[in-house]
């Protein structure tokens, strides 16, 4: 998955998490998910849009998403994804995990030891 020079490369699993988060608001198609992520990240995250699909398919296989062909506002055929209850609980779980991970990584990077260990 080649990343563009100006944008950071997403860690594995992050794309899935972002897709889940986006779909938690409303069902959407691939293009819509890509736009939403782009907007929500303040254009800081620009993914290779095609790479969204392997993530979506994996989530669908796991039963976190379900899909259905529909028509967009512009009257174009597109496949719409929506969260399943299972996907919703996974979103919660993964979000917590991500926050924990990013805090830990940030701490290590700022060289700020954990308070309990300092004491």
């Amino acid at each position: 998955m080649p990343a563009k020079d100006s944008t950071p490369e997403l860690p594995q699993g992050a794309l899935e998490l972002l897709a889940l988060r986006t779909l938690a608001r409303a069902p959407n198609h691939g293009y819509g998910i890509a736009r939403a992520i782009e907007l929500a990240s303040g254009k800081a995250l620009s993914i290779e849009e095609g790479s969204l699909y392997p993530a979506l398919y994996r989530l669908e296989n796991r039963g976190d998403l379900k899909s259905e062909w529909g028509t967009t506002d512009a009257n174009r055929k597109a496949k719409f994804y929506s969260l399943t209850p299972r996907g919703r609980s996974r979103l919660k779980e993964q979000t917590a995990l991500w926050e924990k991970l990013s805090t830990a990584v940030s701490r290590v990077l700022s060289n700020d030891p954990a308070p309990e260990r300092a004491a």
Partner: protein, 320 residues
């Protein structure tokens, strides 16, 4: 419920593979089209829009392949498991079949054993042993040969030479061969071993008995050596049978077509020479003593087989 259970066990798209492929393609194309639309709305040329859309989206072919593996990956795995199961089952069936075959052949062997034992038991009881086979066609040879015994008579028959050869040949001291033909009207044949050209061709039939002895039998004409000199076309030594007439010897030597005188010198120096004349008509006439008849034989003994016939033309006629 069953669908979710199925999903949790095997997470793959249950639709046929071509349908799944088409679905993936349609979805990727739809996304690409939406990007192009966006770019066109921003004022890009159609060609630019296409190129930029591909750059943003990535290679659709590569993505389609990737998507396919994700959607059908488990199914491919399942198919492999199916194949493996099939192979295992197949080998098990083959193994069982082979095993069964072995047992069958073993029981067949056992049956054959039993049959053989029964046959052996029957043969041990003389009352039951009836040979349905016709007696073998054989001829017998005994006496002065290397390997006396019974010899099978081949379908085409055989002559005495072949039998003797089969028996390893005559021993050096063999003198006389008696052939006892097992045919009603046939009398025994007697041959001297010195006349191989004669006895070799003697035909043999079933149950004939050949006996070779070391004794001389006067009934068997021996081979003798004669020499013809003088006024004949074919001078020289030749073999003939004991008891042959001077006339027959001279005939083979091509005597002159006119009257001539013949002197038969015996090898035994003590024996009286025989004198005779050949008439113009080819007949011979014995001129000397009354003790020699016209058909006087060249009666050489076997020990003194050689004789010389000197054919002379009468003096006056020779110069005619």
């Amino acid at each position: 419920v069953s669908r979710t259970l199925f999903r949790s066990l095997f997470s793959f798209d249950p639709r046929p593979a071509p349908e799944v492929d088409a679905d993936i393609r349609a979805e990727l194309d739809s996304h690409l089209a939406m990007i192009e639309e966006e770019l066109l709305a921003q004022g890009a040329t159609p060609a630019d829009a296409r190129a930029q859309a591909l750059a943003r989206f990535g290679d659709p072919d590569r993505l389609a392949r990737q998507a396919r593996t994700i959607k059908l990956g488990d199914r491919i795995m399942l198919q492999r498991i199916n194949l493996a199961l099939l192979i295992v089952l197949g080998s098990a069936v083959i193994f069982l079949l082979v095993q069964n075959q072995r047992i069958n052949s073993r029981s067949v062997q056992t049956l054959e054993q039993v049959a053989a034992n029964l046959a052996a038991m029957q043969q041990r009881q003389p009352a039951v042993s009836v040979s349905s086979e016709p007696p073998a066609k054989v001829v017998y040879i005994q006496g002065e040969v290397q390997r006396p015994g019974a010899y099978a008579l081949p379908p085409g028959g055989m002559n005495l030479q072949r039998l003797v050869a089969a028996a390893g040949g005559l021993k050096p001291n063999a003198r006389t061969i008696y052939v006892d033909h097992d045919r009603s009207a046939e009398q025994d044949k007697v041959f001297s071993t010195t006349t191989p050209l004669i006895w070799a061709a003697e035909p043999l039939e079933t149950n004939d008995v050949v006996n070779v002895t070391t004794e001389d039998d006067r009934r068997a004409p021996a081979q003798i050596h004669v020499e013809v000199r003088g006024y004949v076309a074919n001078v020289g030594k030749r073999w003939t049978l004991e008891g042959a007439t001077v006339e027959s010897v001279l005939r083979h030597a091509s005597p002159p077509q006119e009257a001539a005188r013949v002197v038969v010198e015996r090898t035994d120096p003590a024996a009286t020479p025989i004198e005779m004349t050949i008439a113009e008509d080819g007949r011979q006439r014995t001129r000397n003593s009354a003790s020699h008849r016209r058909r006087d034989q060249c009666a050489c003994r076997r020990r003194f087989p050689a004789a010389r016939a000197l054919v002379q033309l009468p003096a006056p006629r020779a110069h005619r």
